[in-house]
């Protein structure tokens, strides 16, 4: 798999699922926590990528 974006999605999913399982909150709160974590990783990475757009290497 060579797509950076797919790796971002896969990695975020793995890490979010791990911390979701590790969390001791109630079921609904757990899922909410996992979604927030996943969104933060994916959209955070996209935001940083967008900010880096003016600085190509």
């Amino acid at each position: 798999m060579r797509s950076h974006f797919l790796h971002l999605l896969l990695y975020s999913t793995l890490v979010s699922a791990f911390f979701l399982l590790l969390s001791r909150r109630g079921s609904k709160e757990r899922v909410r926590f996992g979604l927030i974590l996943w969104s933060a990783m994916v959209f955070g990475a996209l935001a940083v990528a967008f900010l880096m757009l003016p600085f190509p290497r």
């Binding site: 798999m1 060579r2 790796h7 896969l10 990695y11 793995l14 890490v15 699922a17 791990f18 399982l21 590790l22 001791r24």
Partner: protein, 162 residues
Amino acid sequence: MAKDDGPESAGGSRRPSSVARTAAVLIAAWLLPGLGHVLLGRVRRGVLFAVIVIGSFALGMAHDGRLALRDRQAFLTSLQVVANAGVGPADLAARIAVYGEAAYAVPEEGDAGGFEPRVVRIMRERSRSALSAYGTAYLWTAGLMNLLLLFDAWDIARGRRD
């Protein structure tokens, strides 16, 4: 089917386990990700943890992740080795498969007769792969997740968590 995640589940009461049992659980948890939770009665959670950690490790190996070698002149490489080794004996097996030996450190200068040591050359060749950075992230993540699982298993065994 075993109950899971309840405070009264098999082996999972809130009473602290003995020191010997806690130690056995921690060793098992390091040997096989998720096994510590299974032994503490958290079967479903343990299996899911195993899938996540082993899956991450497999992805790392499939993407030519770097199996770090400790370099005396670079402290961070020691932390990288710890992150790799956290996943348990799978890391050792991977090192033997990749390097042909259980290499954890860069050989001392002079051991290679002035040439770049073989294990360093192999590591560099793997790092040249376009996917190696992803592979390395997956490998380190697998190891660090398993180390976190050890702490979680410790807390459960000592009755501090459900």
